[in-house]
């Protein structure tokens, strides 16, 4: 029984179990808690042995940490997923059309729906990309759409990750771990597969080969290196796709192509799945002090010598100020009403909105326009008076750097604890692949869960954990 204002995805307020969780709950109640505790420890060992770790910046004592894994799956009904995936597909289509438009005729600005400053004053907007046709016409090949739920039928998009969404390796490893630990659960429940993601990723990247490619496209993953927080994921994806994992110093421009240094000389790459930010991609065109990129890669790209996925400049769509225009963006490019809702957002650059935000800081969530990872944000309801005072100053000095949103009553899912099941807040990041052949959404995604009681912050850098996410098959 729960008496919180939060929607719980497993248990109704009257204590009954929601349909999607019925089979799981029956199984769970028949398990010996001591056995489950042993399994939870076993899961941790598996992750440690496999090396599924991440690095926390600025914390030398914890150079490598595990993201806590919770053994209770998050379960989504087939009907719920069907609705969500339609909305996700619509949103991703709109994002790509938007990215094309802002680098070409800027119809959306001409139509008066988006102020031109949103582009002109946006650091993520790259003038070098104006007029460039990306191979296959795709800007954002790999997208992560962060969703939160507040009620049985109520989902919101919290943010769009169109630049370099991470976390997909956790989605895959979490499933592998569950399959290994609780095979019987997968006989009792019809859970849709996620394991073809790497193969789909490879074929959707290959489908965007540049004009210069001949024969089977050569794909590679570009990582900043082994000290990057997501290095495990980079090596995992390269390994699963069967392609090379390269760093900037493995690459150079040879005869108008970007080539990697192999044991037998330089070999051209056709499609580069880069996990390096725009700023660091090309020291000749962007930050000159970058060692992570390839001098001249942007020129090769513009000449059709290589495909960069995601395309440079897609970070514009990650911007939280642009986010506030997403309902208009979706409608403008698809001609349809948005199927997924946006969280109402105040842009603090607007004086009236700023006044409202300053008056209501105790109730709002305030985020940096370019922030990520849960850093640099204020959660009004749980913040101390001192934190709010400090944040008020930052907000007043650079209002355009912030947006504010109401604090959402995020749904909860149970996690496994020594004392049994306990509800914790969750979000969901489904992963989407875009290619000229279509849009492919892996059923489920990464569920992040705030492990601290009452906490609304699910980011792993802030002590969040993850869960396996099930989308059930049709009944």
């Amino acid at each position: 029984m729960t008496d919180t204002p939060y929607f719980d995805e497993m248990t109704n307020p009257d204590g009954s179990i929601r349909d999607a969780y019925k089979a799981y709950e029956a199984w769970f109640s028949s398990q010996d808690p001591a056995h489950l505790r042993a399994k939870a420890r076993e899961a941790e060992d598996v992750f440690r042995r496999t090396g599924i770790t991440f690095n926390v910046y600025g914390d030398p004592d914890a150079a490598e940490r595990l993201i806590p894994f919770d053994i209770v799956p998050r379960i989504i009904a087939a009907r719920e997923w069907a609705r969500l995936s339609k909305g996700i597909e619509q949103r991703v289509r709109a994002l790509n059309a938007f990215l094309h438009d802002i680098h070409h005729r800027q119809e959306i600005v001409r139509a008066g729906l988006l102020p031109v400053e949103m582009l002109a004053k946006n650091d993520a907007y790259l003038s070098q990309m104006i007029g460039v046709e990306p191979p296959g016409g795709i800007y954002t090949h790999i997208v992560g759409i962060d969703l939160v739920r507040t009620g049985p039928e109520q989902f919101y998009v919290l943010e769009d990750n169109a630049r370099t969404p991470s976390g997909v390796s956790y989605m895959l490893e979490n499933r592998e771990t569950m399959l290994g630990m609780f095979p019987e659960l997968f006989q009792q429940n019809r859970v849709q597969r996620v394991s073809n993601y790497p193969a789909n990723l490879h074929s959707s990247l290959a489908a965007c080969a540049p004009p210069a490619a001949n024969g089977d496209p050569v794909v590679a993953v570009l990582t900043p290196g082994i000290h990057n927080s997501a290095y495990y994921e980079h090596s995992f994806l390269a390994d699963e796709m069967g392609v090379e994992l390269v760093e900037g110093h493995d690459l150079r421009v040879v005869d108008g192509r970007v080539a990697m240094r192999t044991t037998q000389g330089y070999r051209p790459i056709d499609v580069l799945y880069r996990r390096v930010d725009d700023d660091f991609l090309d020291p000749l065109n962007f930050r000159p002090d970058s060692y992570l990129g390839v001098p001249g890669i942007l020129d090769v790209y513009r000449a059709g010598g290589i495909t960069i996925a995601n395309a440079p400049g897609t970070g514009v769509a990650d911007d939280k100020a642009i986010y506030s225009y997403m309902p208009e963006i979706v409608e403008f490019y698809t001609g349809e009403k948005p199927l997924l809702e946006n969280v109402p957002t105040w842009r603090c650059s607007d004086p009236d909105s700023l006044a409202h935000v300053l008056d209501n800081l105790e109730e709002l969530v305030v985020k940096e326009v370019h922030g990520s990872g849960g850093y640099g944000m204020l959660i009004g309801p749980t913040a101390s008076k001192k934190d709010i005072r400090a944040f008020r100053k930052k907000l007043e000095s650079r209002p355009a750097n912030y947006i504010a949103q109401p604090t959402l009553a995020l749904s909860t899912c149970p996690i496994f604890q020594r004392t049994g099941l306990a509800p914790r807040h969750v979000d969901l990041r489904p992963f989407v692949l875009v290619s000229p052949d279509g849009i492919e959404i892996t059923p489920g995604g990464l569920t992040r869960v705030a492990l601290k009681k009452g906490s609304l912050v699910v980011n792993s850098s802030q002590g969040g954990g993850t869960k396996d996410t099930w989308v059930l098959g049709d009944d």
Partner: protein
């Protein structure tokens, strides 16, 4: 394969081999300290010299003792070549070349690192020395086992083996060179306790005591020991064995890539020497000179492979 990957695979296995050799050396030191306490100090000095760790050790310590040398070689972070640092470097290379390894090999390296970090997190007490040394050798064996059991026999495998054998040849040659004077036929007191200790140290350090007895019986002659560890192609730590393997893997790369490179000629020349030379000829020319020569050529071959296969640029 990326040049960087070839380099990472080679160095991963050089570091694994190095840590295992260190464990054997420390084991030998302890054995001699227990059975011939009068010889302990000078044998610990040889151990340090063989590990190329004497100068560093003396910069940090005034006196030689079993505890101090053990700590220096196994876990003192001031010693860049201690076991703990070797394992750390091995794992870093494994992480770098994760896509060139099977999941089993990666996990064996990762578990090796986890286990030894734990075992070497504090000073190893004398009582615990055998267990910890056993652990180092066992974890190394797990890595080797998963390599042999799961890796495709392609260029990646060749580079792992090249790393192993270049490192091993270096270690065996250095061990012999530190002790070359007791192997000279002119050395006095053949069969004396003193010489037996030193020869025992040599054989134990390469885990070859029993196999030597099997081949040469109970009489230990300096000439036989030198011949066993330089020329006997059946002894897996002998120079000839290492070069037989190095030649084979380079040959495989040549056939695989279809390109003959300077490192092939260098390896062939060394291999030919092992076929042509005899132990008597080596003694005639001077054992020390021969070993010094070999160490230099082995190091040059290692560097040539790095260039030929573009490990770095």
């Amino acid at each position: 394969m990326l040049g960087k990957t070839a380099g990472g695979l080679t160095w991963l296995f050089r570091y694994m081999e190095r840590s295992e050799n260190l464990a054997r050396l420390v084991e030998t030191g302890h054995r001699i300290a227990l059975t011939r306490p009068d010889r302990a100090e000078s044998e610990w000095t040889s151990v340090l010299e063989t590990a190329w760790a004497r100068r560093g050790f003396e910069a940090h310590h005034d006196q030689i003792s079993a505890e101090a040398v053990t700590d220096w070689l196994l876990r003192d972070r001031n010693n860049p070549a201690c076991v703990l640092n070797c394992i750390e470097n091995a794992r870093m290379n494994a992480k770098l070349v994760r896509t060139g390894l099977t999941r089993e090999v990666w996990e064996a390296v990762n578990e090796c690192w986890m286990t030894l970090n734990e075992a070497l997190s504090r000073r190893v007490t004398p009582k615990d020395v055998p267990r910890v040394l056993g652990l180092i050798k066992q974890r190394s064996a797990f890595v080797r086992g998963s390599l042999h059991g799961t890796m495709l026999r392609d260029d990646a495998f060749d580079f792992t083996r090249l790393g192993t054998f270049v490192e091993r040849a270096d270690a065996t040659a250095r061990l012999l060179d530190v002790k070359y004077y007791v192997l000279l036929p002119t050395a006095a007191g053949v069969g004396s306790t003193l010489d037996n200790t030193q020869w025992e140290m040599i054989l134990r350090s390469v885990s070859a005591e029993a196999s030597f007895r099997f081949v040469h019986g109970r009489t230990r002659r300096a000439r036989d020991i030198a011949s066993f560890l330089i020329f006997d192609g059946r002894q897996p730590r002998s120079l000839a064995f290492c070069y037989n393997k190095i030649g084979g893997h380079l040959e495989h790369l040549y056939r695989d890539y279809g390109t003959r490179l300077p490192c092939h000629d260098m390896a062939d020349a060394i291999c030919r020497d092992f076929e042509r030379l005899t132990v008597d000829a080596v003694f005639e020319r001077g054992l020390h000179q021969f070993l010094q020569d070999f160490l230099r050529r082995n190091a040059e071959l290692g560097a040539q492979m790095e260039t030929d296969y573009r490990f770095a640029k």
